[in-house]
């Protein structure tokens, strides 16, 4: 599908900080279409946050340009269409109530009167914040506060949402709940989402596409499946036996990757080389009555990234 205007368009972005050897972001170009959900990945110091800051106008590029919905990044028109969430920097006032903070956020983006009140109510309901509205921000848990931060960023109905590690520090329950809420809301409002996170489960839950950068340069741009490359066919079978002296199964295209202990063996194989049914049949034949448990898992995104970073 072709869109006349990209949601985000970065063209040969360069950011060079003084007294540093090379540029933090080096000739970075990419385009994100409206409604896309994109993960922006890279190791520490790769230039993710710097790029995000250039997109929202916090930093100016040394050279190159960035546009948000056709407007120069950092301009009033671009900022008005942009929502920002920083996991490590609160935009709320700790000593004020959630309601006051949301009220202010809405006003900053020009929402007033009934429109503002309705929007706050609508988002508070969607993100289950109604009971928090009269509470002071400092009395909220981190998970509750992050929900408020996201609502605050979405109040003005931004067409593009930039989220820098929104789930940092959250426990697994809060993370899942937040992801679910963001996902539903993104589908509902068709907001373009660009996300940076070191938690790859965020990426898998929320994003269809990912851009991988390292040393300020783009290393990969494509779908998650494409990023996994041949590793997408890799499966791990974890076998638990009842016998401690059980022999290891030796087969071509089938290798032992880990012997966790005397009773647990982990095998790896590629399903395009060895069909799953055949692999499982060989294992059950080999272990026979001693086979107690068996679990199959795919390669994790962390491992994919690790492989790509080391490459």
């Amino acid at each position: 599908m072709h869109y006349p205007v990209s949601a985000i368009h970065a063209s040969s972005l360069v950011k060079q900080f003084p007294k540093t050897q090379g540029p933090s972001v080096h000739s970075l170009s990419f385009e994100i279409q409206p409604g896309e959900t994109v993960a922006f990945l890279g190791p520490n110091g790769a230039g993710k946050s710097t790029t995000l800051k250039m997109l929202c106008g916090i930093l100016s590029p040394t050279s190159g340009s960035a546009k948000i919905l056709g407007f120069e990044a950092g301009s009033q028109s671009a900022n008005q269409r942009l929502g920002l969430v920083f996991g490590t920097r609160s935009q709320l006032y700790l000593h004020m109530t959630v309601e006051h903070c949301l009220d202010l956020s809405a006003e900053i983006y020009g929402l007033t009167g009934a429109k503002k009140r309705n929007r706050i109510r609508e988002l508070s309901e969607a993100f289950s914040l109604l009971s928090f509205l009269p509470r002071r921000v400092r009395s909220l848990s981190l998970g509750e506060r992050m929900r408020c931060e996201i609502v605050s960023a979405l109040l003005h109905g931004p067409q593009v949402l930039l989220a820098d590690e929104p789930t940092i520090g959250l426990d697994i329950v809060a993370k899942n709940s937040l992801r679910e809420l963001i996902k539903n809301w993104q589908k509902y409002e068709k907001t373009t989402l660009m996300l940076t996170s070191h938690d790859l489960s965020d990426v898998e839950a929320l994003c269809d596409r990912c851009i991988l950068i390292d040393h300020g340069m783009k290393r990969f741009d494509g779908t998650l499946t494409e990023m996994k490359g041949e590793l997408k066919n890799l499966r791990r079978v974890r076998v638990t036996t009842s016998a401690s002296n059980q022999e290891i199964l030796k087969l071509d295209r089938f290798k032992l990757s880990l012997k966790e202990n005397l009773f647990t063996h982990v095998y790896e194989f590629f399903t395009d080389q060895l069909p799953m049914s055949e692999g499982l049949f060989s294992l059950s034949q080999h272990y026979g009555d001693q086979l107690q448990d068996l679990s199959i898992s795919e390669v994790t995104l962390e491992e994919v990234l690790e492989a790509r970073y080391s490459a």
Binding site: F17, P18, S24, S49, T50, K53, C56, G57, I58, L59, S60, G74, Q76, N79, Q80, L82, L84, F86, R89, Q91, Y93, H95, M96, H100, D103, L104, E107, I108, Y109, G110, T112, R136
Partner: protein, 269 residues
């Protein structure tokens, strides 16, 4: 029809900054315990300083006991709402995010400080109106002084908001300047006649202190509220001096803000 026409000419951004000023004022008094503590300390300071002045200057100074009580109420009020470092720290923290929002950081800092100062002063002024008659000042004199004070409030609020934004910008450029806020407030306290009117100081201190901006912001204001005239200067002179300070601080604000924005590009935001 004139009010309707005037409303039509109000710039669209103005109502937002007014509401933002109100938000910051609400924020200033949201902590009930500390607000109450300040409101209780306020009459205590007036009482204490009035008695100290009376002990040292009885029948010797330019003011009667009732006048000094009102004078100290005004200068204490000005001092208690003068430059707050917590507000400046929050302004600093918001600097980078403000660049990504459709509102000016300078505008937000100015409006926030102006709202907090002006609103805070109005609250203390109401407290003064209630308390001063109990401390021995005649009600009519208190009311007149308070009305005179309200006349000067906007100009003082603008100047102090500009001072606060300059200091906030300076902190972005040189972080160590945050340590300057406390000395500056203490210098203004000592030289501005907050403890006692400069008119009662001995020479040559009095002549020197009268030339300093601290005297324009504290002593002259207190003196005007009590006496209805400025001390050894005309109203026009005072207005000119304040206007010069406003122009200077306004210029420094723009300059420091541009420098801060430039420097901000060097350390990653």
């Amino acid at each position: 029809m004139l009010p309707v026409r005037l409303i039509a000419h109000i710039p669209s951004w103005l109502p937002f900054y007014i509401r933002y000023a109100g938000f910051q004022l609400k924020g200033r008094f949201t902590d009930w315990a500390s607000s109450l503590a300040y409101l209780l300390l306020y009459p205590f300071f007036i009482w204490l300083l009035t008695h100290l002045w009376w002990r040292f200057n009885a029948d010797q100074g330019h003011y009667t006991g009732q006048e000094i009580c009102i004078y100290l109420a005004i200068t204490e009020l000005l001092f208690m709402t003068f430059l707050r470092s917590s507000f400046m720290e929050r302004s600093n923290a918001d600097f980078s995010i403000a660049l990504a929002r459709p509102r000016s950081w300078l505008g937000l800092t100015f409006a926030g400080q102006f709202g907090t100062t002006l609103g805070g002063r109005m609250i203390y002024l109401i407290a003064a109106l209630i308390l001063l008659p109990f401390l021995g000042a005649p009600w009519r004199m208190v009311l007149t002084s308070c009305l005179r004070f309200i006349l000067l409030l906007p100009a003082l609020g603008i100047l102090e908001a500009l001072m606060a934004s300059v200091l906030a910008s300076a902190q972005l450029l040189w972080h160590e300047t945050r340590y300057l806020v406390l000395p500056i407030t203490k210098i203004f306290l000592a030289l501005g006649g907050v403890f006692g009117p400069l008119a009662d100081y001995g020479e040559p201190g009095r002549s020197i202190f009268l030339r300093l901006p601290a005297s324009d912001l504290f002593f002259q204001v207190g003196h005007f509220c009590v006496k209805g005239e400025f001390y050894q200067t005309t109203a026009l002179n005072w207005v000119i001096r304040i206007s010069i300070w406003i122009t200077l601080f306004g210029t420094w604000n723009l300059w420091f803000f541009q420098l801060a924005k430039k420097r901000h590009q060097s350390f990653g935001g």
